[in-house]
C-alpha cells in the first residue's frame, strides 16, 4: 500500500503553497452544460483557470454552408436555445443585407416585440441561474421559469413552437399574428413588472447576495473593450455600447428607451444591469404593442426557395440578450452561402473568464461564470 499522505491531484508547489488542479466539468452541476474549467487552486483560491470547450460542437457553420439559405434558419434556433427568436433575427438581417430585401413596417414591429420578449426570458432566466450557482436552491430560477412559461405560451401560439421558433424569414416574418395575440401579450407584459418587483425584493436587498457579488469578478471597462466583450456584461462595466442604439436596426430608432450603465463591473452590477434592462424592455414593448401598424408582413420581392444572392458579403448584427450576435455571410451566387460565420456573444464574453477569476475563490469562479451568461449551444456551435 502506498504510504503517501498527500491527497490526490497535487500538482506540486509554487514554492510556498501546494497547488491542487481540479477539473471542473464537463460533468459538473454548475457549468451550464458541457463546459470544463481546468482550475488550479491554492487552497480555495484560483491561481490559474483554463476554459475548455467544444464538447457540444455540432458543425453548425459547415452545415449552413451546405444547406440552402432557408435551411439554416431552423439551425439558428439551436445556437442559443434560450433566445431562438433573436438568433432568427440576426440571421435574417444578414441575408436581407446580402439580398437587399426590405422588411415591411409591421414585420419590423413584430420582430421588436419578439426580440424584447426574448430579452425578458433570457435575463430573468439568467438571474435565476446565477442565484442557483450561488446556492439559492432554485427558488429564483423557478420564479423566473414561471414567468418564462407565460411568454413561451405566446411564442407557441404565434410561431407554433415554444423554443425552436423558426419564425423569421428573409424580408419579413413567416405568418401574421393570430387574432387576440396582441391583447394576450399586453396582459403578460403588464403583469411582468410585478414579477420583477417580487424578484428584486427576494434578491436585490439580500445581504448574502450582496456579500457574494460585491466586488467579485470586477471587469474594468478598458479590459472589457479590449477583449471584445459585448452586451450587458460590457454595459455593467460602464461602457455605453448598445447596438440597438448604435445601429438602430429594425424599428428601434422609433422607440424611446434608455441604456442602463453600471460603474464597477462586478457580478452585482451585471445582475442589476439585467434587471434594469428588463424594465427598459418593458417600455419598448409597451410602445411597440401600442403603435404596431397593419399591413403586409413580407416583402413582396422575397422568395422562399431558390434564393441565389448576387456574389458579395454581408454582416448582420443585432443586440442579442447576451451581446452582439453577428452573422457574416459570403455569397458566390450559389444557392448556399460560400462562407457562413457566427459571432457568438457567449463565446467571446467567455474568453475573459480567467482574468476575472484570478485571485478569487473557487466559489466565486462559479458565480462569475454564471454572470457571464453562456449557453453552450452557442459557445461550441
Amino acid at each position: 500500500m502506498r504510504a503517501s499522505t498527500s491527497p490526490p491531484g497535487c500538482i506540486g508547489t509554487d514554492g510556498e503553497h501546494t497547488l491542487l488542479e481540479v477539473s471542473m466539468g464537463p460533468h459538473h452541476p454548475s457549468t451550464h452544460g458541457v463546459f470544463r474549467m481546468d482550475v488550479t487552486l491554492d487552497g480555495e483560491t484560483v491561481v490559474k483557470l483554463k476554459p475548455v470547450f467544444g464538447y457540444l460542437h455540432r458543425n453548425h457553420e459547415k452545415i449552413a454552408e451546405k444547406n440552402s439559405y432557408l435551411g439554416s434558419m431552423p439551425y439558428t434556433d439551436r445556437l442559443d436555445y434560450i433566445c431562438s427568436l433573436t438568433n432568427n433575427w440576426g440571421y435574417a438581417l444578414a441575408v436581407e443585407k446580402l439580398t437587399g430585401l426590405s422588411v415591411p413596417e409591421r414585420a419590423e414591429y413584430i420582430r421588436v416585440i419578439l426580440g424584447e420578449l426574448t430579452r425578458l426570458i433570457n435575463h430573468s432566466a439568467l438571474a435565476g441561474f446565477l442565484l442557483q450557482d450561488m446556492g439559492a436552491l432554485g427558488t429564483p430560477l423557478m420564479y423566473a421559469f414561471r414567468e418564462r412559461e407565460k411568454i413561451l405560451d405566446l411564442f407557441e401560439s404565434l410561431t407554433g413552437a415554444r423554443m425552436m421558433c423558426n419564425y423569421m424569414r428573409f424580408g419579413g416574418c413567416r405568418c401574421d399574428l393570430p387574432p387576440g395575440w396582441i391583447e394576450q401579450t399586453r396582459s403578460v407584459v403588464s403583469r411582468f413588472p410585478s414579477f420583477l418587483d417580487e424578484f428584486e425584493s427576494l434578491l436585490t436587498g439580500n445581504e448574502i447576495l450582496q456579500a457574494r457579488t460585491e466586488g467579485v469578478g470586477a471587469l474594468p471597462g478598458r479590459l472589457a473593450v479590449n477583449a471584445g466583450v459585448t452586451g450587458p456584461m460590457l454595459r455593467a462595466s460602464g461602457i455605453n455600447y448598445d447596438i440597438r442604439k448604435v445601429d438602430g436596426y429594425g424599428a428601434y430608432g422609433r422607440f424611446n428607451f434608455r441604456v442602463p450603465l453600471g460603474e464597477r463591473g462586478d457580478v452585482f452590477d451585471r445582475y442589476m444591469i439585467r434587471i434594469l434592462e428588463m424594465r427598459e424592455s418593458l417600455k419598448i414593448l409597451d410602445q411597440a404593442l401600442r403603435d404596431i401598424p397593419g399591413g403586409p408582413i413580407m416583402d413582396p420581392k422575397a422568395k422562399l426557395r431558390n434564393l441565389r444572392p448576387k456574389p458579395g458579403e454581408a454582416y448582420g448584427r443585432i443586440e442579442g440578450p447576451k451581446g452582439e450576435l453577428g452573422f457574416y455571410l459570403i455569397s458566390d451566387g450559389g444557392p448556399n452561402p460560400y462562407r457562413y460565420r457566427v459571432r457568438p456573444p457567449s463565446l467571446i464574453n467567455l474568453t475573459i473568464l480567467e482574468d476575472m477569476c484570478l485571485g478569487q475563490t473557487i466559489a466565486d469562479a462559479v458565480v462569475i461564470l454564471g454572470s457571464v451568461d453562456i449557453v453552450l449551444g452557442e459557445v461550441d456551435r
Partner: protein, 396 residues
C-alpha cells in the same frame, strides 16, 4: 387528559411489567430505544417528504405527488431506490475508512436523543451533565466527515471535508457558548432541570421560557444560526455546495452508504432542534398555564415542527455564503455576540428584583439594548466599509 399526557410512560411501564423481574430494566431500555428509533425514523421519512413539498410550494411547484396519496409514500420509494442502487467504492479509495465513515456518522447521533426530554417524565436518561453529553456525542460527526472526505481520494471530497471541518470547528464555539447563559441561569447541566427552570409562570399565565427574555431570544437566534451551520444546511451548506464542489465529501458515496449519511445529517438536525426547543422554548411545557391540558409531548412535537419548518423556509430563500465569509461570520460576529449575550444574561440575573409593572419593561428594554447595539456594531464591522450605494446612470 392526565392519562393522555402520560400514555407513553404508562405503556412502557405496563409492557415492561410483563417481563420477569430481573429482565425488566433491560426490557424497558429496549422499549425506549425502539420507541426513539421508531419515532425519529418516521420523523426522518416525513421530514424528507415535507421538505420537498414545502420547498416545492415555496418555488411554486407541487413537489413529489406521484407515489401514494399526495406523494406520501415517496420516502418508501426513495428507500427502495437507495437500497437497490449499486454501491460504488472508488478503486483508489481507502476502503476501510470509506466503509466506516457512514457508520461513524449515523450511530452516535442516535445517542444524542437519550438525554432530550420529549415530555413530562419522558426522558430516556437523566444525566447530570446532559448537555455536555449531547455536545460530546456530536463531535463524532466531524470525524466521520473527515473519514469520508479523505478516504474517497477525490479532490472534491477532500475540499468538501476541509470546508466541513473548518466550518464545524468554527461554529461549535458559538453553538456551545450560546447555550451557556441558559445553563448559567438554570444552574444545571441537566436538560430536565433546564426545562423545570422554565416551568414557572408570570403575569397572565405566560410561561417563563427563556425565549421571552432578551438574552433568551438572542441566544435562540444565535443557537439556530450556529445549528444551521453545524448541520450543514443552507445557507451554510458549503461542504456539499452542489454548484461548487458537486456533493463535497459525499461525492463518492452512493446507495445505502449515501442514505446513511443523509439519515445521519437529518438526525443531527433533529437532535439539535430538540435541544433548541429544550433550552429556549421551554421544552415540553405549554406557553400558557391554561393550555397545560394539552399533552406535553404534543407541545414538544409542535415546537419541534415549527423549528424544522423554519429551517426549510430558510433553505428555500437564501443563497450560500462563501467560505471566508462563513468563517468571518462565525468568529467576528457570532462568537463575540455569544460572549456579550453571557454578560446580558448576567445583567438580567442581577436585575431579577425588577419585577414590578413599571420596572419590568425597563429591564427588558435595557437588556435588549445591551445585546442589540453590539449586534448592530458587529454587523457593521463585519460588512466592512460599506461602499456608497450604487447609482446606475442611463445613456439615452
Amino acid at each position: 387528559m392526565r392519562g393522555l399526557d402520560q400514555i407513553f410512560v404508562w405503556i412502557g411501564r405496563e409492557v415492561a411489567g410483563w417481563a420477569p423481574a430481573p429482565a425488566q430494566p433491560l426490557v424497558s431500555a429496549i422499549l425506549i430505544i425502539a420507541g426513539i428509533m421508531a419515532v425519529f425514523g418516521t420523523c426522518f421519512a416525513l421530514t424528507t417528504i415535507a421538505e420537498r413539498k414545502i420547498l416545492g410550494r415555496m418555488q411554486n411547484r407541487f413537489g413529489p405527488n406521484r407515489v401514494g396519496p399526495c406523494g406520501l409514500f415517496q420516502p418508501l420509494a426513495d428507500a427502495v431506490k437507495m437500497l437497490t442502487k449499486e454501491d460504488i467504492v472508488p478503486f483508489s479509495a481507502d476502503k476501510t475508512l470509506h466503509f466506516l465513515a457512514p457508520l461513524v456518522m449515523t450511530t452516535p447521533i442516535w445517542l444524542a436523543f437519550a438525554v432530550l426530554p420529549f415530555g413530562r417524565n419522558m426522558s430516556a436518561l437523566d444525566l447530570d451533565s446532559g448537555i455536555l453529553f449531547f455536545f460530546a456525542i456530536g463531535s463524532a460527526s466531524e470525524l466521520a466527515v473527515f473519514m469520508a472526505g479523505w478516504s474517497s481520494q477525490n479532490k472534491y471530497s477532500l475540499v468538501g471535508a476541509m470546508r466541513a471541518i473548518a466550518q464545524m470547528i468554527s461554529y461549535e464555539v458559538p453553538l456551545v457558548l450560546s447555550t451557556v447563559p441558559v445553563l448559567m441561569l438554570a444552574g444545571s447541566l441537566s436538560l430536565n432541570e433546564i426545562v423545570a427552570a422554565q416551568g414557572t409562570h408570570t403575569l397572565g399565565g405566560l410561561a417563563r421560557w427563556n425565549v421571552f427574555t432578551p438574552w433568551g431570544l438572542a441566544g435562540l437566534l444565535l443557537f439556530l444560526i450556529a445549528a444551521t451551520a453545524e448541520s450543514n444546511r443552507s445557507p451554510f451548506d458549503l461542504p456539499e455546495g452542489e454548484s461548487e464542489i458537486i456533493a463535497g465529501y459525499l461525492t463518492e458515496y452512493s446507495g445505502f452508504k449515501y442514505a446513511l449519511f443523509f439519515l445521519g445529517e437529518y438526525l443531527g438536525l433533529f437532535a439539535i432542534t430538540g435541544l433548541a426547543v429544550t433550552l429556549f422554548l421551554g421544552g415540553w411545557r405549554a406557553p400558557f398555564q391554561w393550555l397545560e391540558w394539552v399533552p406535553s409531548w404534543l407541545w414538544f412535537g409542535g415546537k419541534f415542527g415549527v423549528l424544522i419548518f423554519l429551517f426549510i423556509w430558510v433553505r428555500a430563500t437564501l443563497p450560500r455564503l462563501r467560505l471566508d465569509q462563513l468563517l468571518n461570520f462565525s468568529w467576528r460576529f457570532l462568537a463575540p455576540l455569544t460572549l456579550i449575550n453571557l454578560a446580558v444574561a448576567a445583567a438580567w440575573h442581577w436585575t431579577g428584583a425588577w419585577e414590578s409593572a413599571a420596572a419590568a419593561p425597563v429591564r427588558w428594554v435595557l437588556c435588549a439594548a445591551l445585546i442589540a447595539l453590539p449586534a448592530h456594531w458587529l454587523g457593521r464591522a463585519l460588512r466592512g466599509a460599506v461602499p456608497p450605494p450604487r447609482k446606475y446612470h442611463y445613456a439615452e
